[in-house]
Symmetry: C2
Subunit: 407 residues, 2 copies
């Protein structure tokens, strides 16, 4: 079956773009600066639900409870707070997460097991539970079918803007809509983990197929970005499919499944690129294209090594065409390749051709490197596997943000 990018329509909004979802964002007082810190999303009916979770061995308490509550493949409500990670607190952390699900459930008249919880922020400080429980009540009464943007704002930590994306497509004479929101913006590294995203859809789909398709979309989007090589203990991506499109259920390996996967991938890539572009202190979005690697693993390792290299990232901040650092990062990535068959270009300028440095015009290089979006290519000249990784540069502001985050 042919799927064209033209089959998918970019639409406004985020998690409340699909039918049957309301959301809200409120300031409960967790953040001392009075900014919004609790996001709530509620579906009109129980939804198929799936998630991908951090690979960090240490896991936040809110995240662990979400993993448990997803075991039956369904959920109806998502709670996320920013400003506090609810992590590394012993039994109290788990108790607080349970109290949160109970509060949401009692307001919405649903089971606590159908509430998914997430927390992001500083580690090791107990949640101020009175503020949180009052905030949930506030958020519940502010739920709105246009409230997606408020939820997207409430999950922000060091993000500089709220991140939303949505697409719709025609399906069996009806319309399927997928919307999402995400927050970054440090601790972002290929291996999922590393951020929080919530995606909603009105598609009709089983939890099993939803999970499989989510993993595929994540592998092509959130697992291909890196801000600083860090993998946090709290971060996750959740998807809820509430079936409110009223269309026939999406079957495994069907044309509709491929279309749904493509749409989920589009939303995920758009959110992922926003995360990379809004990395802490970032001034540039860098697209790293690895071409003709011997295996997909080699391509991924090479791309990730470039994306995580402080020397590459500071060179881009300095708008310096330092391809030697790119080659160095590939050289220690563990990827198999032959340097004398390898070429490197930045934008359309070839700087290293089959093992030999190519003299280039520094003025032209400055012009390419002064742009906000920069694309680089490393071509291994043999194999047949390609990948794309997105990252950002490394600026003075990253240091300033992270030297003073906790206190």
């Amino acid at each position: 079956m042919e799927i064209s990018i033209n089959d998918f329509k970019t639409i406004e909004g985020g998690v409340t773009a699909p039918s049957g979802f309301k959301a809200s964002g409120v300031a409960s007082g967790i953040k001392k600066n009075g900014e919004a810190d609790i996001a709530l999303i509620l579906s009109e009916c129980k939804a198929s639900a799936a998630g991908v979770f951090t690979l960090n061995k240490v896991k936040g308490h809110s995240l662990e409870l979400s993993v448990e509550n997803l075991h039956d493949g369904s959920a109806q409500c998502v709670f996320i707070n920013s400003g506090n990670a609810n992590a590394c607190l012993g039994p109290k952390g788990k108790e607080d997460a349970i109290a949160i699900t109970e509060k949401c459930a009692s307001l919405a008249g649903i089971s606590p097991e159908d509430v998914l919880t997430g927390s992001t922020g500083v580690i090791g400080h107990p949640l101020p539970m009175e503020k949180v429980l009052n905030g949930i009540t506030d958020a519940y009464y502010k739920l709105d079918k246009n409230g997606g943007i408020n939820a997207a704002k409430a999950i922000m930590t060091t993000d500089s803007y709220p991140k939303e994306a949505a697409v719709s497509y025609s399906s069996n004479g009806g319309t399927v809509t997928i919307g999402g929101m995400a927050k970054g913006s440090g601790m972002i590294n290929p291996n999922m983990a590393t951020m929080i995203a919530v995606i909603t859809t009105d598609a009709v789909i089983s939890p099993e197929l939803l999970k499989e398709i989510l993993q595929n979309a994540v592998d092509k989007s959130f697992n291909r970005i890196s801000i600083d090589g860090e993998t946090s203990v709290c971060d996750k991506i959740l998807v809820l499919a509430n079936g409110m499109s009223g269309l026939p259920a999406i079957q495994n390996n069907s044309a509709e499944a491929f279309k749904f996967e493509k749409a989920l991938e589009i939303v995920s890539i758009r959110l992922a690129k926003m995360l990379a572009s809004d990395g802490e202190g970032a001034t540039k979005l860098i697209e790293i294209n690895i071409r003709n690697a011997a295996t997909p693993e080699d391509a991924h390792a090479a791309g990730k090594s470039i994306a995580n290299s402080p020397l590459v990232k500071t060179a881009f901040f300095g708008e310096d065409a330092n391809w030697g650092r790119i080659l160095t990062a590939v050289g220690y990535s563990g990827a198999e390749f032959n340097p004398s068959e390898t070429s490197i270009s930045i934008g359309t300028m070839v700087l290293f051709d089959k093992g030999v440095a190519i003299p280039f015009d520094e003025h032209q290089a400055k012009e390419v490197l002064s742009k906000h979006e920069i694309s680089i290519e490393v071509n291994f000249g043999s194999g047949r596997f390609d990948t794309t990784i997105w990252t950002c540069d490394f600026s003075r502001e990253y240091i300033d943000i992270n030297a003073n985050y906790r206190t």
Copy 2:
């Protein structure tokens, strides 16, 4: 056999501290700012020689020639230039490296195969060979038995000070001396590679045993430091043992071999800690102690992950007791451990005790963190393997240095 640290005497100087070595450092014009850029070391007689080289798949041409010239386990002369890496230049890079060995050899009246070459600096620019060859002549005539410090200065790139260390110890009624010099100070990462160091000794030892002992010493020193997780294409450690102590040859598994190894380890650790402490833009030296890991590999992975974490390093720059980032870095390191048996302390302050955050006095923490040398401990509470890794913090100056290095 009991070896006491008191058996070893710290002495002044570096590569010219042992008998029979002369050295020099001159400005040949490779560096545009007129600073010294060629270091030469010459032994009075042919020496046993060994090296440990970068694991980067891409290797500089000067380094590759050193690897070749070490095949017979002997050398008499070491040439190192800073300011240009002589890397990624195709056949010309190799030709230039050979021309350098020929020039050194003809001046010294030795074989070109007994000259080891090293280059450090920017990648992809041909060496200005006329300047280099004239510089070698200049350096040869300036060789001096007190010239170690000049060689140490000439190998510096972004180092803020020259790095030398030397010890001597009694052996069979005589004295063995070991001296060394090293340069950093970005691209430093456990896995050797990552820097240039040259160590000289007047011990009498076979190339095979020298190589084995060097690898042991490197594993406990240069492989345990990290500035930024980068592994360069040019970096190496070389050791020359010229036998001028006139003592009996050191035999494998003998008391003298253990003593020699300990002395080489002391010199290597001192140089390695200087490299970590003088990391680009560093304001602090951080000693990371991993205790009670299940395997040596787990201990190393955990320590390295902390040492390379931009979030940990920026927190130390900000003097912030952010133990959550330390735990996070351990969590994604791949090390096997149980978070609920794990404890973390900074200095003498326990911040995380068997899985639970411990409230602490922020004033006391600031006091510990405002010091230049800071020690942290992660205790896994089970296994029996320990390791120590040294790193530095991550400052605004690191960004400034590396955003503007090449141009």
